[in-house]
């Protein structure tokens, strides 16, 4: 069965680095791109990932020499993304990114929190406290965190059903997440939405959509409203490689390009649409090029700095020139949902391979350690803190009550006009909609 890695080699452009090289975040730009030779690539990758001391990881600028207290230092650090961006119909942004200790540590903490949250949700689902659908995002945290770092709360985000971490990045709380997953009153949708329907309108997060691909025209509509109201803000509409073949996406992109809407379509390409690998679903899996007349950018979605850089670039572009497509090359460790073991259509080796070589949290950890921004113990402490936060939130959510029965009939309409609604036995259960 073709593995992810070999499928990669078949479908990628010659100047694109094979995935095994993403483990090394700091190659100089003058480093010659390797040939797509599987054996060589895998050998090099083993070599790279076996290095522990970080001696291969040299910063381009040595602005930092002394260690500062965690998370307060905002002195700029200049780094390079793991790989250069690949562009379609536009000039790729530079690989050089500006960050700071503060930002890197925030990234680390946020991603660790999301990772812990998703793992905890897995356990809750197996304990039958979460029902129905549960689509987990672990592995893809860099996309949510990097995107949020490039945006303001005036910009809108809309995504599909793998929305727990995107909701958190937009300012949601752990209690709201766990309570909603368990169907309790304190949930962000008061228990009436479930895993796929998280919303946070005051942060311009518009969900949370269960119908594959529907969120893309909706996102272009948000961009339309922003342009109509002269907000000077943009919308990021996220979708997966499975949704990338949806017709309505191309319809919405066509209208967005005609009307110059500030819409950024972000394909979170985790290479599998449920159980179907991208090469089985798409004749052209170069999703960043599928916009044809719309420019596109291919980004290493496991590198939070690259994601941030690409989103900043895209926001600028969209405000001036209309829609642009970002393809985030990412990976999910879990299956499509909790009912999918995730190992029938891909090998366990592939999953562990990516986890070893490309994990977004490990990459940031290595960066932080190599720049002496924090000790290993301090990072472990952060992870412990985060774990405790998650456990506390779960405990609180478990105590939270389920919605009142009367909530069955609330919010059917914004303005119910006093009409009657009915329960299963209309002679027993009736309500007047407010």
């Amino acid at each position: 069965m073709p593995t992810l890695l070999s499928a990669w080699f078949n479908s990628h452009q010659p100047n694109l680095h094979p995935p095994s090289f993403y483990s090394l975040s700091l190659f100089r730009s003058s480093h010659p791109p390797p040939s797509p030779n599987p054996t060589l690539a895998m050998a090099l990758s083993r070599f790279a990932s076996s290095s522990r001391s970080g001696s291969l990881l040299k910063p381009l600028s040595s602005a930092i020499s002394l260690r500062r207290p965690i998370s307060t230092d905002t002195t700029p650090i200049t780094l390079e993304t793991s790989v250069p961006f690949t562009a379609h119909q536009c000039e790729a942004p530079s690989r050089t990114v500006q960050t700071s200790a503060n930002e890197l540590l925030t990234f680390f903490r946020d991603m660790a929190l999301m990772r812990r949250m998703e793992i905890a949700a897995d356990s809750l689902y197996k304990a039958k406290l979460i029902r129905g659908f549960c689509h987990l995002y672990d592995g893809q945290e860099a996309v949510a965190v990097g995107m949020e770092a490039a945006l303001t709360k005036k910009d809108c985000i809309i995504t599909a059903y793998r929305d727990h971490c995107t909701f958190m990045a937009r300012g949601g709380t752990l209690l709201e997440v766990f309570a909603e997953l368990m169907g309790r009153q304190a949930g962000c949708s008061r228990g009436k939405g479930g895993s796929m329907h998280f919303y946070k309108k005051d942060s311009n997060f518009y969900g949370g959509h269960g119908i594959v691909g529907a969120q893309v025209p909706l996102g272009c509509g948000l961009a339309f409203a922003q342009k109509y109201s002269k907000d000077e803000a943009v919308t990021f509409a996220l979708y997966g490689d499975g949704a990338a073949n949806q017709g309505q996406l191309f319809e919405a992109l066509n209208i967005s390009a005609l009307w110059d809407l500030p819409a950024i379509l972000v394909c979170e390409n985790n290479h599998y649409g449920m159980g179907t690998a991208e090469w089985r679903a798409a004749k052209s899996p170069a999703y960043y090029k599928r916009g044809d007349y719309a420019p596109g950018l291919k980004v290493d979605g496991m590198d939070v700095l690259a994601v941030k850089q690409a989103c900043t670039f895209a926001k600028e572009h969209a405000l001036k020139n209309g829609p642009i497509i970002l393809e985030m090359d990412t990976y999910r460790y879990h299956g499509h949902s909790m009912s999918d073991p995730g190992s029938t259509y891909r090998t366990r080796d592939e999953i562990t391979g990516v986890r070893q070589e490309r994990d977004p949290i490990e990459r940031i950890r290595k960066l932080i350690l190599s720049h002496d921004l924090a000790t290993e113990k301090e990072l472990k402490d952060i992870e412990k803190e985060v774990r405790k936060e998650v456990d506390d939130a779960i405990a609180q959510a478990k105590e939270n009550p389920v919605p009142e029965s009367s909530e069955l009939f609330t919010n059917v309409y914004a303005k119910g006009l006093g009409v009657e609604s009915f329960g299963a036995d209309r002679k027993e259960v009736r309500a007047t909609l407010p």
Binding site: S189, K201, Y206, G207, I211, G221, A225, E251, K415
Partner: protein, 412 residues
């Protein structure tokens, strides 16, 4: 003189809705109206209504929504439904900057049926938007704009094409307020011609009232007259929920009288209230959209045979005005439901079920359903005529309900 006569409401109007002039003919009558009130003989049904209400302690609030006469100027203007819709759109766009119109040919073409004539010139291309022929795409974009606080009016060239966008109407618009526990209201209107036109064939003739009306979270309106068109479209645009506004192509050119009140820019009709177009006491006929005209014609024919039909213009399929329908049936004891769409699981089925649940004891005859034929719409003129309800179908059904029909011919 213009005396307001709330106590005695003479809601009988001529067919085109012209209000009858007030009846006071002397000072004494004005000062002591009580003595001059015409006491209409209560029908058996009405008497039973009073008795049963007392006996069974019915809690169903019975408020027939009969329109009250107002004494505006009696020089009734004529207005086509097309102009009514156009003026409603114009006024609402003028009143609220957030309202915009989107659809195929709504701008430069002036509207496929000229409903949006002149709007592009007046409001510009930012507010009147011509879309490509991509219903799923532009309906989704409109719903997204509504999420962010704008008030889109989406035109489907006919509602047959709304099926391309039905996922956005149901899953993105109707259910969002509920799934988000009130965070995401969707103040959108989907409008366009619905149902059969003339000779357009099977793919262009379906009525979608029953489909959309079954979905909680949507409101479904079906105007008949120009007054309906103006008042309901304005109400729909102002409403914070998704509204499916089902017009009828064959009604666009029809003229109706409109009073000054209707022409006023603040005129608005309530959503969820039916209108009794013709008061009667022998049989209730419910109808919506084009069929209201058929029902009124049928009522005229029935009157010659001594059957006094009450015609209810539903105006709103969701919410359905069950109280008006039930109150009427409790008065007349017989019901005919008329609709243009397919019969199975149609609007008439819901009305029949509602009446059986609420007013079973009052029915003196089985409920009759008149609907489109249970076949895709044929093209040939004679077959098309057989596929759509005709006035004589309604007359026949009413007579059956009154046990006055000609004996059925032996089955072939």
């Amino acid at each position: 003189m213009g005396a307001l006569r709330d106590c005695q409401v003479d809601a009988r109007q001529t067919e085109d809705g012209t209000p009858l002039p007030p009846r006071a003919s002397s000072i004494i009558e004005l000062l002591f109206p009580f003595f001059f009130q015409k006491r209409e003989k209560k029908s058996r049904g009405e008497k039973m209504l009073v008795v049963r209400k007392k006996m069974l302690g019915q809690s169903l609030l019975i408020r027939p929504a009969v329109s009250v006469l107002r004494s505006y100027s009696s020089s009734a203007k004529q207005m086509t439904v097309r102009d009514a819709l156009n003026s409603a759109l114009d006024e609402e766009m003028s009143a609220d900057q957030k309202v915009f119109l989107m659809g195929e040919e709504v701008g430069e073409y002036q509207g496929a049926y000229k409903i949006s004539k002149g709007l592009l010139e007046k409001y510009g291309p930012e507010r009147v938007l011509d879309t490509p022929i991509t219903e799923a795409g532009f309906a989704g974009i409109a719903v997204g704009a509504a999420y962010h606080g704008l008030k889109p009016v989406v035109e489907f060239m006919t509602f047959n094409f709304s099926m391309q966008a039905i996922d956005h109407i149901i899953n993105s618009a109707a259910k969002s307020n509920y799934m988000s526990a009130g965070q995401m209201s969707v103040p959108i209107v989907f409008r366009g011609p619905n149902g059969a036109a003339a000779g357009v064939g099977a793919q262009h003739s379906q009525c979608y009232a029953a489909w959309y009306a079954s979905c909680p979270g949507l409101k479904v309106l079906t105007p008949y007259s120009s007054e309906d068109a103006r008042g309901l479209l304005k109400a729909a645009i102002r409403d914070p929920d998704p509204v499916v506004f089902l017009e009828n192509e064959l009604l666009y050119g029809e003229s109706f009288s409109v009073s000054d009140e209707v022409l006023d820019s603040s005129f608005c009709l309530p959503i969820g209230k039916a209108k009794i177009e013709r008061v009667g006491r022998d049989v209730t006929i419910t109808a919506f959209s084009k069929m209201v005209g058929h029902a009124l014609k049928a009522a005229e024919i029935l009157e010659k045979d001594g059957i006094d039909a009450e015609v209810i213009n539903l105006r709103s399929i969701r919410p359905l005005d069950r109280s008006t329908i039930n109150a009427s049936v409790r008065k007349t004891n017989r019901l005919i439901t008329v609709e243009e769409g397919f019969p199975q699981h149609g609007v008439g089925a819901e009305i029949c079920a509602s009446v059986v649940e609420e007013s079973f004891a009052y029915l003196d005859a089985p409920v009759e359903r008149i609907a489109g034929a249970d076949v895709p719409m044929p093209y040939a003129a004679n077959l098309e005529r057989l596929a759509v309800p005709q006035v004589e179908d309604i007359v026949r059904a009413a007579k059956r309900a009154c046990y006055r029909s000609v004996p059925l011919a032996a089955a072939a």
